[in-house]
Each structure stands twice: as structure tokens, then as C-alpha cells.
């Protein structure tokens, strides 16, 4: 059943004009945008019911998405690439960009994910944010995010994509800093935006190069004519797009913002920093497939970035005690898998998106679970003070458990189907020739074992083992520092979204893998792929991976369930200490960028005053020829200046006349 494939040249499907329901796809963006506008402009008047407006706007977008999807599957496969022209957006002569939407199986997959998971998270937030006085503003930002994210995936040109791209960055900034009365949260928000801007710089230059090459920025022209451009140009475009992708998707070397982004309310972490926005980089690479097809070097770099990040995140995730930061590291690592999948080229595109979808479900589910735990544990996140919560939060425990099994890749849960496909494809990289299949395949496989370790660690530390908190009546931990907690299950508005996502974590993978239905569905975009064998037999890969996963779980069980977990982090090995500090990412960035930047800024500020301005004020003093200089000047010697200057002009004009220049 498990075979991996290699692309043969398949002609791109020509887009057709949207009709019927698909012609109304602009509503997908307009509805949540309207929701955001009503909530932001409505002010305090909408405080009481504003959150339901937010839910309604997102839910309505899902209904539109579902109907549009039904319409699309009603079309034959070669008519499923549909363009919807909206209006002429930037009619700047040679540079003309239309606002238009591209509806195809790729964008539709995202639209369904974003609106479905997004709506569930809106519902969850109604309860989660109930006691926040700014709940209305929170929903406005969530709606804004959904609108921007849908624009990002639906745009039919790189320029319009960029609008959504920075739009989600703005929403992310606003939501990470939602509780910005804490300076640390405000700093985290700014850090995320600035790191993203570094990536966006790459995207801007990529678009400039695309325009300079193709004279257009719409997908139809650019991707259709990519084959005509030289490999050098395509490589440059590919690498620049990748820079954009590393910013948005928190991939090495622009990964440092994601951990800090956990400062945002947990539903935000679930929706933006796990399920959807951070995967936009993967979307960008897959969407730009025809460019990467002609740029093998760029594609290899994509795979390398993915492989580094998947190990980076896995190592960091193994050392974090903050439940949200551990999940964030895991997200980074899982997106590393997707990026690696995308970096495999046509054999991996579909699997990258497949894993993106299943990850969207199980990771969002686990983040909501973490939020539920925090809800019951007085908003604390230190797993060293959790433990034994399975008895108190049954629904949270079971739904989280589904997500845990899914990310581990235990059959038949979702992650098994999607992650295994990426590992297999990695072993088939480069047509099974040379070093690449071994290096990338083994990295992905070992990463699966580490994933099993850190996720089991998280799961056991939180839900199993001894209670490391006190219930205030002598139960649980008895050490004097033990915090008093009263864990309880969350309300139905929170548990139902978790249950639905848990169902997806369990069944979505198998459903989409059955009969290769998902890869076939994506074929109009990613092309049809022919079978190709990996360097190891598929059953060997599957079994070895499962063994590694079992080892990871067993190690975590021994250390974090069977034996007592220290409430104070032990000193730890060199690697553990480095991983706790995110492998010194901030220290490196500070030394390489922040510090030199500060020195440059300070010296320039000083130099502007003394050297640049000093030169002119000095000149003024010289002209006047009076030692008193500026002091006199302030006393109204304007006339004398003017007179001197006028004299100068007269002389100059005389020179001009005399010499007849």
C-alpha cells in the first residue's frame, strides 16, 4: 500500500473563470473582514454580544467554504483550477496587478482548514476569554486574522498574497501582544513582527525579481512560464521565497520568535501559531512548485532548512517545562517536517500539505487542551507543578491523548499516515541516488523518535504521575512550596471544540490516505507523480520508525511517569541546558544583530549631531565670521545672513554673465 512517487512532467491545469457558487468566494474574505470592522468600530456598544458576531462571521465563512468545496468536487479534476477576477487593484502601467482569487484544491484545502478549525477556536474563545474585559477586541483581531489568512491562500498573485501575508503578521502581532500591559508580552509581539519583516524583505525582493523576469506577478503567468527562466534566476527566486517562508513559519534561522509568541492567549497559539499562519511558509513553497522544479539547489536548501528545524524544535521541545513553549517547539519541529516534505520536490508537495492538515487538527487540539489545563490550574504553565491531572480533567485528558497519539504517528491515528509519508519520501529523495535520501531520511526518522519522547514527556508530566500541586486539603504534593490548585474540567464551549478536533486527530489521516484520495485531489496543483521506491523497503521504514517511537515513549515513561519528577529543574546535561535556552538563539541574534545595530544607531545619532549638523552650523559660523556664531544668530541676525547670501548670489550671477557659462 505504501509507495512513494516521483514526478513526471505533467502539463499544468489551465485555470478557468469562476462561475456559480465559486464566483461568490470573495465572501470568504469579506465576511470575517466585516466582522472585524463591526467589532472595532462598534466600540463598547458591541461588548455584550460582540464575541458572537465574531463566531458568526467565522462560521459563515466556513459555510461558504463548504459549499464552494462541494461545488468544486462536482467539477471534473481538470477543471478544478478556477480564477475569480475581482477588480483592477494596482494599474501602474507596466506593473499591473489585479485583485483576484485562485480557487483550486490547494487553496480550498487551506480554506476548509482555516475556517473549520478557526470557527472551533472562536467558539472555544467565547468561554476562554469570558472574564477578559477586552473580549470584543480579541474577537475583532481573530476575525481580522481569518480574513487575512484566507486572502493569503486565495490570492492569485504574489503581490496580493503579500497583503494577506503581512495581514496575518499584523493579526499575530496584535494577538501576541493582546495582554501588552505586561512589557514582556509587548516585546514578544514586536519581536515576532520584526523577525517576520526580515522574512518579508526576502519576499519583497523575490516579487521584484519575479516582476523583473516575467513582467507579471500572477500565478498563471509566473508559474506557467517558470520553465522559460534560467536556473540561476529561479534559484534566486526560490531562495528569496524561502527567506520569507522561514520568517512566517518560524524555520531556521528566523525561528526565534515563535517561543516568545506563546505570550498570546492560548486560543491564539492554537489557531495562529500552530494550525494555520505558521504553515503559510509551506504553502508558499508548494504554491511556487514550478519555480522550485527548475531550481534544484533552492529545493535542496528548503529540505536542509526543514531538516535543521525539525531537529532544532525536537531538541528544544525535550527540555522545556512551560507547556506552551514545549508545544511551540513541537510546532516548529512539525513544520520542519512539512518544509522537508516540500523540499523533496514533487514527490513531497502533497505529503507536506497532507501533514499540514492533520497537524492543524491535532496540534490545535493539544493547544486547546493546554489552554483547558491552564484554565483549571490558575493560568500556570509550569509542567513541573502539574501531574496526575487525568483524574480531574477527563475530557481534556482523553482529547489531548488523541492528539498525542496522532503526533506520535501511532496507527491508525492521523499523524501516522501523514508523517510516515514524509519519512518515506525523504528516503526516496533525489531518485534514491547519492547521500540525500540517507541523510534526510534518517533525520526524519530519528526526529520521529525524539518527537515521541518530548510529547510523551509533556503528556505524562501533565496528566500522569504524582500530583506536584496541593489541593489545599492535604492532598497531592506536601512540600511547602507546592501551589494550591483546584483543577476542574472546562465548560462545554471549550470541551466540544476539543472533542471535535480529537475526532479529526484520530480519523482525518486515514480518511484522506484511503485510496490516496488526498494526493489525487491535489494533483491539479502538484501534478501527478509516478511511483518510485525509497532506498529502504517501505515496511522496514515503517517498522523502524514505530520502534523508535516506542523507545521514545518508553524513555519518557521511565523518567516522567514511573519515577518522581523534580519540581525544580535538575542541572541537566550541557545539551539540556542549551535546549532550555533555545540553543542560545537569542544570544546569537543579540551578538550578531541587536548589539551591532544598537552600536550603529547610537554612533549615528551622535555623529548626526556632531559631524553632520556640526558641519553646517560650523559653516554658518564661518560665513558670519563672528565668534559668537549661533548665539548671535539666535538674536535675530537673519537680515545680515540674507544680505550676505544675496551678495553671494549677485557675485555668482556676475560670474555667470562675465564668463558666459
Amino acid at each position: 500500500m505504501l509507495t512513494t512517487d516521483l514526478l513526471t512532467a505533467v502539463p499544468a491545469v489551465e485555470p478557468t473563470a469562476a462561475t456559480g457558487v465559486l464566483a461568490a468566494a470573495w465572501l470568504l474574505i469579506a465576511l470575517p473582514m466585516l466582522g472585524a470592522a463591526v467589532l472595532l468600530l462598534g466600540g463598547a456598544r458591541t461588548d455584550r454580544w460582540g464575541h458572537w458576531i465574531g463566531v458568526l462571521a467565522s462560521g459563515a465563512a466556513f459555510v461558504v467554504a463548504f459549499v464552494a468545496w462541494l461545488a468544486m468536487i462536482g467539477l471534473p479534476a481538470d477543471e478544478r483550477v478556477v480564477d475569480l477576477h475581482l477588480f483592477s487593484w494596482i494599474p501602474a502601467g507596466a506593473f499591473s496587478v489585479d485583485a483576484g482569487l485562485r480557487l483550486d484544491p490547494l487553496s480550498m484545502s487551506f480554506v476548509l482548514l482555516v475556517t473549520f478549525v478557526g470557527t472551533l477556536i472562536h467558539v472555544y474563545s467565547v468561554a476562554y476569554m469570558e472574564h477578559d474585559t477586552s473580549r470584543r477586541r480579541f474577537f475583532a483581531y481573530l476575525n481580522l486574522f481569518v480574513a487575512a489568512m484566507l486572502l493569503l491562500v486565495l490570492a492569485d498573485s504574489y503581490v496580493l498574497l503579500f497583503v494577506g501575508w503581512e495581514g496575518v503578521g499584523l493579526a499575530s502581532y496584535l494577538l501576541i501582544g493582546f495582554w501588552n500591559h505586561e512589557t514582556a508580552n509587548a516585546v514578544a509581539a514586536k519581536k515576532a513582527f520584526v523577525a517576520n519583516r526580515v522574512g518579508d524583505l526576502g519576499l519583497i525582493v523575490a516579487i521584484a525579481l519575479i516582476f523583473a523576469t516575467f513582467g507579471a506577478t500572477d500565478f498563471t503567468t509566473v508559474l506557467g512560464e517558470a520553465g522559460g527562466a534560467s536556473e540561476g534566476v529561479l534559484t534566486a527566486i526560490g531562495l528569496l521565497l524561502l527567506l520569507g517562508a522561514t520568517g512566517k513559519s518560524a524555520q531556521f534561522p528566523l525561528q526565534s520568535w515563535l517561543g516568545d509568541a506563546m505570550a498570546g492567549p492560548t486560543p491564539v497559539s492554537a489557531l495562529i501559531h500552530a494550525a494555520t499562519m505558521v504553515t503559510a511558509g509551506v504553502y508558499l513553497v508548494v504554491r511556487s512548485g514550478p519555480i522550485y522544479d527548475g531550481a534544484p539547489t533552492a529545493l535542496l536548501v528548503v529540505a536542509i532548512v526543514g531538516a535543521i528545524t525539525l531537529m532544532f524544535g525536537a531538541i528544544v521541545g525535550s527540555a522545556k517545562d512551560d507547556i506552551k513553549k514545549a508545544l511551540a517547539a513541537s510546532t516548529m519541529s512539525q513544520i520542519g517536517y512539512m518544509m522537508l516534505g516540500a523540499g523533496l520536490g514533487p514527490i513531497g508537495y502533497a505529503f507536506a500539505i497532507f501533514h499540514l492538515l492533520t497537524h492543524g487538527f491535532f496540534k490545535a487540539g493539544m493547544f486547546l487542551g493546554a489552554g483547558s489545563v491552564m484554565h483549571g490550574m490558575d493560568d500556570t504553565v509550569d509542567m513541573r507543578r502539574f501531574g496526575g491531572l487525568s483524574a480531574f480533567m477527563k475530557v481534556t485528558w482523553v482529547t489531548f491523548g488523541f492528539g498525542w497519539l496522532a503526533i506520535l504517528g501511532v496507527p491508525p491515528f492521523s499523524g501516522f499516515f501523514s508523517k510516515d509519508k514524509i519519512i518515506e519520501s525523504a528516503f526516496a529523495m533525489n531518485g534514491g541516488e547519492g547521500w540525500q535520501p540517507w541523510v534526510f531520511g534518517l533525520t526524519a526518522m530519528i526526529g520521529a523518535g525524539i518527537t515521541a519522547f518530548y510529547m510523551s514527556r509533556l503528556f505524562f508530566m501533565t496528566f500522569h504521575g504524582k500530583q506536584r500541586w496541593s489541593d489545599g486539603h492535604g492532598g497531592g504534593a506536601t512540600d511547602p512550596d507546592a501551589p494550591v490548585r483546584h483543577p476542574h474540567e472546562s465548560p462545554a464551549l471549550m470541551t466540544w471544540p476539543m472533542i471535535i478536533l480529537a475526532v479529526g486527530s484520530a480519523g482525518l489521516g486515514g480518511l484522506l490516505a484511503a485510496g490516496s484520495s488526498f494526493t489525487t485531489w491535489l494533483e491539479p496543483v502538484t501534478g501527478h507523480v509516478e511511483e518510485h521506491e525509497p532506498v529502504l523497503a517501505v515496511p522496514v521504514i515503517t517498522v523502524t520508525t514505530l520502534v523508535l517511537v516506542a523507545v521514545g515513549v518508553a524513555l519518557a515513561w521511565r523518567q516522567y511517569w514511573a519515577s518522581a519528577v523534580a519540581v525544580v529543574p535538575p542541572h541537566g546535561s550541557l545539551l539540556t541546558r542549551a535546549a532550555r535556552k533555545d540553543l542560545y538563539q537569542d544570544e546569537v541574534n543579540d551578538a550578531l544583530l541587536v548589539l551591532p545595530g544598537q552600536v550603529a544607531t547610537r554612533s549615528l545619532v551622535y555623529g548626526d549631531r556632531t559631524v553632520v549638523d556640526g558641519a553646517f552650523t560650523g559653516l554658518a559660523r564661518g560665513v558670519v565670521g563672528l565668534g559668537a556664531g549661533l548665539r548671535r544668530l539666535q538674536n535675530g541676525l537673519v537680515r545680515s545672513y540674507a544680505a550676505i547670501m544675496l551678495a553671494g548670489v549677485v557675485v555668482l550671477v556676475a560670474v555667470v554673465l562675465a564668463f558666459g557659462i
Binding site: 502601467g93 503581512e166 499584523l170 505586561e182 519583516r197 521584484a208 522559460g228 553632520v612 553646517f616 550671477v653
Partner: protein
């Protein structure tokens, strides 16, 4: 209405008459100076919109609404006005900002002299609003002037109202700032005067020898002379714009000037510099423009990065905004001298968008300073909790300064970068780092002033009043409209960009793929 109705003259005369009326108000009526001035500015706005309706956008490259009359025929000087799309856009920007600045000044400048002297009721504000109206007339005139000498006179005359607005109504260091502003401007203007005279002497002369239309293509100068005269003009414009390294007057001025003055000064007046480069330097001195372009491109890129870095290092809100403008003017100059149709359109559009965005930023910063009593960023903190609407409008204005897509500045900055890339790849790539610096200076400022714990040493503050919302509301609306539907402005600047390139004698860049297909036919 008759086609030959003198719209532009009307637009110049109305604010001048309004200023005269305000000055002539008798004692008791003087306290109504502000409403009268706002009424005049609104009438002017309506007139300008009506005038714009008779502008044929399909011929936006042609100077329309033209009028001409002899002024000093013996010296070849005419009164000639007319606007192409770019001029019209800047006239509209001027008449939009003026009433907003007047409305914003409603509670500023109480009738107490800054030195503590109480002056008779309504007297000082009367001078201030009248000066703004005079300035409005000059702004409209300068963007419409089609005679080099007339342009020069306006270029210098504009200094007078601004000098008094800063020197009489500014902050504690206003005198130094006013003089510095005047000296830099005068120095530039006088160098330009030499150029103006030399230009005339080498032109067709005659009673209409200063008409731009008569001069373009009819100036016979040696290459060296053309380059020197070009430099005379360019230096004046670079000081006005302002570009690195002649920018140092701007932060001092912006720090001391009344907020409304800064809005008009940076939002509109400084555009005369870049407008002059576009409509005088390029058409009159095509060869010299091409000769100087590489150096100017380097200076522009330096301005972009230098302005951005300096903005990050500022402690004073107003100085910070001034430095962001140095960076933004760098983008405008970059686009003009990259000589591609896309970059020139981007720069033309940038002039309008920067007026909206910096205007909004100065105004909201002014509202903040009026409440807290300090322009030092570090004197603030946590204000989003206290004045959420003010914080929100500041953030929106800041986001437009960092060219967030959806707001109008994005379109212009993007066009400049993409257009420049076609001609000067390295310059465009280095300039693009400006977008990272912009994110830093805007969000760092927002973080320091509006987030974190609420400072308890701040005076009690009220959120934006209805009047203040009416000041920033139209600007934000304009930024959104031109962000989502920039065609409204692009239709005005597209044709002029092609005309300019033709005058400079540069072919637009062609996509490389099209080149290789046409060239090698593989």
C-alpha cells in the same frame, strides 16, 4: 460651467482672501477666527474637488486647467498655472490637510504668549490661522506653477509664513529652529536663483522665456553648464526634501514647530523638493539628470537607511517622525531617479501617501503631547489602557509609516522598490532593508509609549474627543481607500510618469524573459 473658468487662480485667491478677512476681523469677532478659517478651508476643499472633476484623467500627462497671463514681460516672467495628474494630486493633498490642521489647532495656542505674556483675546490665534491660509495659497500655487520664475518666487515666499509659524508659535527653542529652517532654505533657494537666471539666459528668452513649456527641449547649454545648473536646482530641492546629509534642519524644526506646522511642512511643503526634481530637474536637464542619477541613487539609499536608524535612536516623538520622513523621502528620490515608469509612479504616489501618513502621525502625536505635556517617548507608558482610541489611531498611522499592505503607503513603497529593482538591483535590495527598520522604529515607539504597565506619574487623560476623531478619521479613511483602491490616485500619476521618462530620454525596463524570448528566439 465654462471650460475656461480660472479654477487654479480661484484656488490660490480664496485662501488669500480668507486670510485677509481673518486678519481684518474687528475686535469682538476675533474669537471667531478659527471657525472662519475652517470655513474658508472647507470652501477651498469643495472648490478643489469640483475643479478636479473637470480634470480629464485620460489625459493626465497633459497640464490642464491652464491659465497664463503676462507678469513681467520684460524679464520673460509670466503668471502661468496648470496641473498634470501629479500636480493635481498634490493640490488635493494640500487642501485636504489644511482644514484638518486648522481643526486640530482648535485648542492649541491659547491666547497666551509662550513667554507668559497675555495677549488680547483672539489675537494670536488669528495670526496663526491666517498664516496657515496664506501658506495654503502658496502650496496650491507652487504645485500649479508653470513658469520657472513664478515657481522660484513661491518656493522662497513659502518660507515667510512658515518662519513666523515656527518662530512665533513654536516651543521653547523656536527661535533657533526657525532661523535654522530659514537659513537652510534660503541657502538652497539662493543657489537655485543662480540656476534660474542661468537657465533663462540659455533658453529661448523673450517675454515668455521662463515658461516651463517653452524651456523644455529648448535650452542650449554646454554639458558642463547643464550639469552645474542642474546641481543648483537639485541642491535646493534636496535641502527641501530633505535628503541626507542636508537633513539636519528638519528634526530641530519638527521638534519646535507647532504640530500643525509640522504637518504642513513635512506633509506638503517638503514635497516641493521632490516635486521640483520630478517636474523641473528631469524635463529641463535630461542629460544632467542621467549623469547624476547613480550618485543620487546612492544618496537616496543612504537617506533611507540613515533616516531609519536615526529614527530608532530618537527620544523625542517629533524628532522621530522627522527622521522617518528622511527615510521616506529617500524612497521618493530613489524612485524618481531610477527612471522606470513603475518607480516614478511609485514616487509620485508616495508623495501623496506620505502626506497622509506622516500628517496622521504628527497629528496623533500632537494629541498625545497635548495630554501628557511631554514629547519624550520615555515619559509615557501603558497608555493603550488609558486612551485606547488614541493608541489605536497612533498604531494605524504607524503601520502606514511602515507600509503595511492595505494602507496606501504600501502601494507606493512597493512600486518604488519593484520599479527600482528593474534598473538598480543592488540599490533596491539595500533600500528594502528600510522596511525592517520601519518595523523597528514604529513598533519600538508603540511599545515604549503605549504598552507595559500604566505609568502613575502621568496626568489624567481623556481619550480622543469627537473633534480630534474628525481630524484623524478622514486621513485614516483616505489611507484605507487608497490602499485598497489605489487606482484613484494611480490614474493621475501613470501618464505623467511616461511623459517624464520620455523627456529624460530613458527607455522603460523590459522583463528579462521577454527580452530573451525576443532576442534569441530559442
Amino acid at each position: 460651467m465654462p471650460a475656461q473658468f480660472p479654477w487654479l487662480t480661484t484656488l490660490i485667491v480664496v485662501p488669500l482672501l480668507g486670510a485677509a478677512v481673518v486678519w481684518a476681523l474687528p475686535g469682538a469677532a476675533r474669537r471667531h477666527a478659527r471657525p472662519v478659517a475652517i470655513g474658508v478651508a472647507l470652501v477651498e476643499l469643495v472648490l478643489a474637488v469640483v475643479a478636479a472633476l473637470s480634470f480629464d484623467t485620460s489625459q493626465a500627462g497633459v497640464h490642464q486647467l491652464a491659465e497664463k497671463a503676462a507678469w513681467i514681460p520684460s524679464l520673460g516672467v509670466s503668471y502661468a498655472v496648470g496641473v498634470d495628474g501629479v500636480g493635481l494630486a498634490l493640490v488635493l493633498l494640500s487642501v485636504l490637510l489644511t482644514p484638518l490642521v486648522l481643526l486640530a489647532a482648535w485648542r492649541e495656542h491659547p491666547d497666551v504668549h509662550p513667554d507668559g505674556l497675555h495677549v488680547e483675546g483672539g489675537s494670536r490665534i488669528r495670526h496663526y490661522v491666517a498664516l496657515i491660509l496664506v501658506l495654503e495659497a502658496f502650496m496650491v500655487a507652487v504645485f500649479a506653477a508653470r513658469d520657472v520664475f513664478f515657481f522660484y518666487v513661491l518656493f522662497e515666499a513659502m518660507l515667510i509664513p512658515v518662519y513666523f509659524m515656527i518662530g512665533a508659535f513654536g516651543g521653547a527653542g523656536r527661535r533657533y529652529a526657525a532661523v535654522k529652517f530659514l537659513l537652510f532654505s534660503l541657502a538652497g533657494g539662493l543657489v537655485m536663483l543662480v540656476g534660474v537666471i542661468t537657465l533663462y539666459l540659455h533658453g529661448p528668452r523673450g517675454d515668455e522665456g521662463f515658461l516651463i513649456d517653452n524651456l523644455v527641449g529648448n535650452v542650449s547649454m554646454s554639458t558642463t553648464t547643464q550639469r552645474l545648473v542642474f546641481l543648483a536646482f537639485f541642491i535646493a530641492f534636496a535641502i527641501k526634501a530633505p535628503m541626507w546629509p542636508v537633513h539636519t534642519w528638519l528634526p530641530d524644526t519638527a521638534e519646535q514647530a507647532p504640530v500643525g506646522t509640522s504637518v504642513l511642512l513635512v506633509g506638503v511643503l517638503d514635497k516641493v523638493g521632490t516635486f521640483g526634481m520630478l517636474t523641473l530637474c528631469l524635463p529641463l536637464f535630461p542629460e544632467a539628470s542621467r549623469w547624476a542619477a547613480p550618485v543620487i541613487i546612492v544618496l537616496a539609499v543612504i537617506s533611507i537607511l540613515y533616516g531609519g536608524l536615526l529614527a530608532i535612536g530618537q527620544q523625542d516623538l517629533m524628532r522621530l517622525i522627522a527622521y522617518t520622513s528622511v527615510s521616506h523621502f529617500g524612497f521618493i528620490v530613489l524612485g524618481i531617479f531610477a527612471f522606470t515608469s513603475v518607480s516614478v509612479q511609485g514616487s509620485s504616489l508616495y508623495m501623496v501617501n506620505h502626506g497622509l501618513s506622516t500628517g496622521a502621525l504628527f497629528l496623533v502625536a500632537g494629541f498625545l503631547v497635548a495630554r501628557s505635556g511631554s514629547a519624550r517617548i520615555s515619559d509615557h507608558g501603558g497608555l493603550q489602557k488609558v486612551v485606547p482610541v488614541l493608541a489605536g489611531t497612533f498604531l494605524v498611522a504607524g503601520l502606514s509609516a511602515l507600509s503595511l499592505p492595505g494602507l496606501s503607503t504600501f502601494v507606493s513603497e512597493f512600486l518604488v522598490l519593484v520599479g527600482t529593482f528593474g534598473a538598480y538591483k543592488a540599490a533596491a535590495v539595500v533600500a528594502a532593508f528600510g522596511v525592517v527598520l520601519a518595523a523597528l522604529y514604529v513598533l519600538l515607539t508603540y511599545q515604549r509609549a503605549f504598552t507595559g504597565p500604566v505609568r502613575d506619574d502621568l496626568p489624567p487623560m481623556k481619550d480622543l474627543t469627537l473633534r480630534e476623531r474628525w481630524v484623524v478619521g478622514p486621513l485614516i479613511a483616505a489611507m484605507l481607500v487608497l490602499g485598497f483602491y489605489p487606482a484613484l490616485a494611480l490614474d493621475l500619476v501613470r501618464e505623467p510618469a511616461s511623459v517624464t521618462l520620455e523627456q529624460v530620454g530613458v527607455d522603460d525596463v523590459t522583463p528579462t524573459l521577454a527580452l530573451s524570448v525576443d532576442g534569441s528566439d530559442q
